[in-house]
Symmetry: C2
Subunit: 303 residues, 2 copies
């Protein structure tokens, strides 16, 4: 795989999961890590998320061959500046951010002497912090690698091999296309979930207790992703603004069309739309990207 | 509990689950059932969803003390007319529909000589049909009963006792308030999920294969409820039109505010909103209406 010393900057859900997965899958590799939050560093050391928790980012990367930046995308530039003084010039720098164009620019600007190959493992849960990570997070999940133009194929192959060792499947993609794809598969869903949960919280005619009690009717599915880390998601929306606004515009047009169908009582249009969307669910389950059990297997049933 | 002979009209997810739950929890009670689809009747008999599958709705209710209508809400009126000729006048009529004002009107109009007490068990999965039902569907779920003004308390108590025997928790509610509460906790979430899945399906710059591959980023959470029965949901939106359009208007206003915050780069507004929505998730888990495991326990992890 090529890397014997890996540094992880940011020890939350993603950084912690990488550390634990390296420990499980790459026993010869040593890991160092740093997190800006002292409490997270203490907890990371207790859980053994990395071999050595360092007191500064600069110290963590001093001997690294691969550095993975696992901080919110808005903090990438500052975090890269913090490692610049001690970063070996032959170290490969990568990340796990959910938007790739702005991250690539921020990392390259702060680290002009290093090779930067951004990446995005499409995996996560609604939890965050030093207790959230687990070693199997990347199993059977896609990791999208977005090399800059002219990137050394050997470096791309080494980074791919690293993620494959952690259980991920690899896709190489143009950063701009990545940002478009993720705007619809991840960013817009999060924005909508955050919105509807807020709408429900603001109603004067329905109490919050009622929303919670009857959430099994559908609402609860949205609350999971609306419980995701606020800093991470603020940064994602600001850094992938154009693609998110584009997708949001399309979504609003489609919602307006269905709204009109309800208003005028056009049952055929509603039925046709609702029939079409069923097929996509089936494909997602066949691709192994979701649980086929009804209701995600929440109900403990024998049916 | 008071009912010894129960008829179930409609043998899909809800009707089938009621039949199976009665078999498990009320061994002395006999059940008859009917479904308009011959294939569903055959399968219902094979699975033993009810004690006797009848060839007509009229035959199914002939000796019933309690009749539960489990058809799409738009089909309630016609189904009620079909049972009117043979329905004993002392039989209590109820249902499981997701909207209550229009259903109450339709059932009462078709069955003027019977007591009608509508109900709505807030439980379900994305599956439909004769194979979808299971006996534990109602365990720890709320069943909202919406008695008409002046309803006999003894009849309401008997219906409550029936649902409690099936594992449900009971709430008595005004039909109009029910329709408002469910518009936000169930109907709007379904409409939004159907919309975004359709939007993703229509994109020219992103393939359907890409949407499916990277759905673990958040999109897949929406596809589950967008796979729900199209006929049922068409009817729900048309029958609870006013409350759904009201909630949709509020949602659109809130989404527009967040859209503006993204456009102007107002990170504080985004952060504050995303922080507020986390608390609701916690309450839903504490109330036992969702699975606390991260990612609904989809990932098989030890963390």
């Amino acid at each position: 795989m090529g890397f014997e010393r890996i540094a992880i900057i940011g020890l939350g859900l993603l950084g912690g999961s990488i550390g634990l997965a390296v420990r499980d899958h790459l026993p010869g590799v040593t890991t160092t890590g740093y997190d800006a939050d002292p409490a997270t560093r203490t907890r990371a050391a207790e859980r053994g998320l990395v071999g050595t928790v360092c007191d500064s980012a600069a110290e963590a990367v001093r001997n690294a061959q691969l550095v993975i930046m696992c901080v919110p995308v808005g903090a990438m530039g500052a975090a890269a500046e913090a490692i610049a003084p001690t970063l070996p010039t032959d170290a490969l720098v990568s990340d796990v951010g959910s938007s790739k164009q702005t991250v690539a620019r921020a990392l390259s600007a702060a680290l002009p002497h290093n090779v930067v190959i951004p990446a995005h493992p499409v995996a996560g849960t609604e939890r965050s912090g030093a207790d959230a990570g687990f070693a199997t997070l990347f199993q059977q999940r896609w990791c999208i690698i977005t090399p800059p133009e002219g990137a050394d194929p050997a470096k791309v192959a080494a980074l791919s091999a690293f993620w494959e060792a952690l259980g991920a499947k690899i896709e190489i993609m143009d950063p701009q296309h990545h940002d478009l794809v993720l705007a619809i598969t991840s960013h817009l869903p999060h924005l909508i979930a955050y919105t509807i949960v807020g709408t429900a919280d603001d109603l004067e005619g329905v109490t919050q207790g009622e929303v919670i009690k009857y959430s099994a009717g559908g609402f609860r599915d949205f609350t999971r992703i609306a419980a995701s880390d606020p800093t991470m998601w603020r940064d994602v929306f600001l850094s992938n603004k154009d693609a998110v606004l584009d997708m949001l515009q399309r979504f609003t047009e489609d919602l307006t069309a269905l709204q009109r169908a309800i208003r005028v009582g056009d049952g055929d249009q509603l039925f046709d739309h609702f029939t079409r969307t069923r097929a996509i669910r089936r494909s997602i389950i066949e691709e192994g990207q979701d649980d086929a059990r009804p209701d995600f297997g929440r109900s403990d049933h024998g049916g």
